[in-house]
Symmetry: C2
Subunit: 345 residues, 2 copies
């Protein structure tokens, strides 16, 4: 048998790429950069926050006094909706294509100082419903081929405002990570007639070494090939391609799942756990995708404490992601957390 | 013609992947995380530094009173040299393979407070010679198939000690980034009988919009597909596969090239410019690689100032790298810098 406490490589079935696992390295002392602890007492309302109800944004637009969620076009969109079909090609070596898209911001709550685990079920269900509605409405643009729903949480993850919010970027072409996943889904589907994530979740439930949450409609695991120390993957037990296919019951369960997972995260280091999280869904306006299976990634950077993160640099950028703590160990730490948020204990 | 000031995608010929360029976004105000300015007055010798001459390391080994470079086995190696040939496979879905390797640290100079641009030509040539010698000696292990030479510079890049040093990780299998580059090199070589980088450097010299350094033996460009704001690529004008193939004259020119490039970097924000840098070379002990072409990547994170970096998060992790400033603009800023280091002006 392979010894998972010794250096080894694991294969990511969603990208076909590898991660180097070096568990013995977790013991080394850390003398490098220490981040600020992001734990501050924030007010419910901040007059200088451009996301709070009634405040003015960079575009001079004034936010309504919204309740629940509020969605608007990103004032600094990386993608623009103007029609463009230009391309550039020198000898098949310098290659560029104009890109078209739409960027939106979704505010999760009017309260400046709340985060997902601190919202109640109804508020979280509101977030899930908003994702569903926005997906539906963006999809109506026939030129949109892919929609990325995501959240950057915490200053350490480049988030410039603690007010709870996420983003949606919709675009005309299929981004790199989705190209990789599509080809992996396709390969398995053509060979077996099944979603690779259906087969994967059965194995994870049998092995029961990396499962964090197992409820009626979702399984949450530290994936076997996780790169980030506490990376997790939410998989829907029913194979769907899009968030729009979830039933009322599935949406409520997704809200509960998000609450439990983010609560466990916060409890690990008793801090508002930073991450980038986002759903991967099939391309749209592009035929059927029976091979595709909706899932949601959480990529949190913290490794040793609320202030010491994993640096994906050097070897990781040039060669291969590398992790210190095993996925099984990380799963155990997540499982050991209470499901009540530390702030309310 | 395509308008490079509008959102567009560029293709990376070394990986086949894309980067989203959104130049208009560079104008947005930054309200997010500010890094520490790493500019400190450091001493020549630091009694608490485990890399300074004569000091004791974590392993209790005492460094000799070295001059020039000093190389030792990493006291916290992510890879271990023990022979292992175990693998793990559940249904072709959970897949792992034991990995074998060697990790070394290369100290660039006995002086605690120097960085590459501050070394003189002779000292930099010493660094290049050490890389060459280490490559040669590691290659003698017939089971080593790939050698990654790299440097993480700056606390922001996970470097835990400012004493000038780099690393070498040698391993039994081919890492993900090298698998991608190998397949791109191969595709072009099979189609044209040439190295894709030979064709690329001709185009860059003709276009002359992204060239930073053009000397007898190397071309330095902000690659057309750069992801990081000031990313650069050093390409050898003569197609070689390995650093061991460089002549004396080429090595001296490489030393000069490194000095000029890192000086220009430091001059942009008048700060010790952080980066991860490393060479990509053909796999070894594995037949000939006429398709492969030695090159060196610099991935620096700073975007707007000595304290504001680009965050590769959210959309970037889930979909596609994205950049704000165009590669042409970044190249112009690098070109505008004096080639004398700001500290000596
Ligand atoms: O080996 P070091 O300098 O202690 O560690 C640094 O470089 C390694 C290789 O790029 C990374 O895996 C670590 O995350 C980083 O902190
Ligand atoms: O859009 P924001 O929150 O201002 O910006 C943040 O998220 C974007 C999308 O992941 C990234 O491109 C930026 O680097 C990051 O700072």
């Amino acid at each position: 048998m392979i010894d998972f406490e010794q250096p080894h490589l694991r294969t990511n079935i969603l990208t076909g790429e590898k991660v180097l696992v070096s568990p013995h390295r977790y013991k080394r002392p850390w003398q490098g950069q220490i981040e600020d602890d992001t734990e501050h007492d924030l007010p419910h309302y901040d007059a200088s926050c451009y996301l709070c109800p009634g405040n003015k944004r960079a575009s001079d637009i004034v936010n309504p006094i919204y309740r629940g969620q509020y969605v608007f076009k990103n004032d600094f969109s990386a993608l623009l909706p103007d029609k463009v079909e230009k391309s550039f090609d020198i000898a098949n070596i310098l290659r560029a294509d104009a890109e078209r898209g739409l960027c939106k911001v979704i505010i999760f709550s009017p309260k400046h100082n709340l985060t997902l685990p601190e919202l109640c079920r109804e508020e979280l269900l509101g977030v899930v419903n908003t994702w569903q509605q926005e997906f539906k409405s963006l999809q109506r643009n026939k030129w949109v081929k892919y929609i990325q729903i995501f959240e950057n949480k915490g200053a350490i993850m480049g988030c410039s405002n603690p007010h709870p919010h996420g983003q949606i970027w919709a675009q005309q072409s299929i981004p790199t990570e989705i190209v990789k996943e599509s080809s992996q889904f396709k390969e398995h589907f053509e060979r077996t007639g099944k979603s690779i994530l259906i087969d994967y979740l059965k194995i994870e439930m049998e092995e029961n070494k990396r499962v964090i949450i197992d409820n009626a409609h979702f399984l949450v695991v530290v994936p076997f090939w996780a790169s980030w120390p506490y990376e997790t993957l939410i998989i829907s037990k029913r194979q769907v391609q899009y968030i729009t296919q979830f039933t009322e019951e599935e949406k409520i369960t997704l809200a509960d799942t998000l609450k439990e997972l983010t609560t466990r995260y916060d409890n690990i280091f008793k801090t508002s756990f930073p991450y980038s999280a986002g759903m991967h869904q099939a391309p749209i306006n592009d035929g059927k995708h029976p091979e595709w299976h909706w899932h949601m990634h959480f990529y949190p950077p913290l490794l040793r404490s609320a202030t010491v993160k994993k640096f994906m640099v050097g070897y990781e950028m040039l060669a291969n992601p590398q992790r210190d703590i095993t996925p099984e160990h990380a799963a155990q730490i997540l499982l050991d957390q209470p499901i009540q948020h530390y702030k309310t204990l």
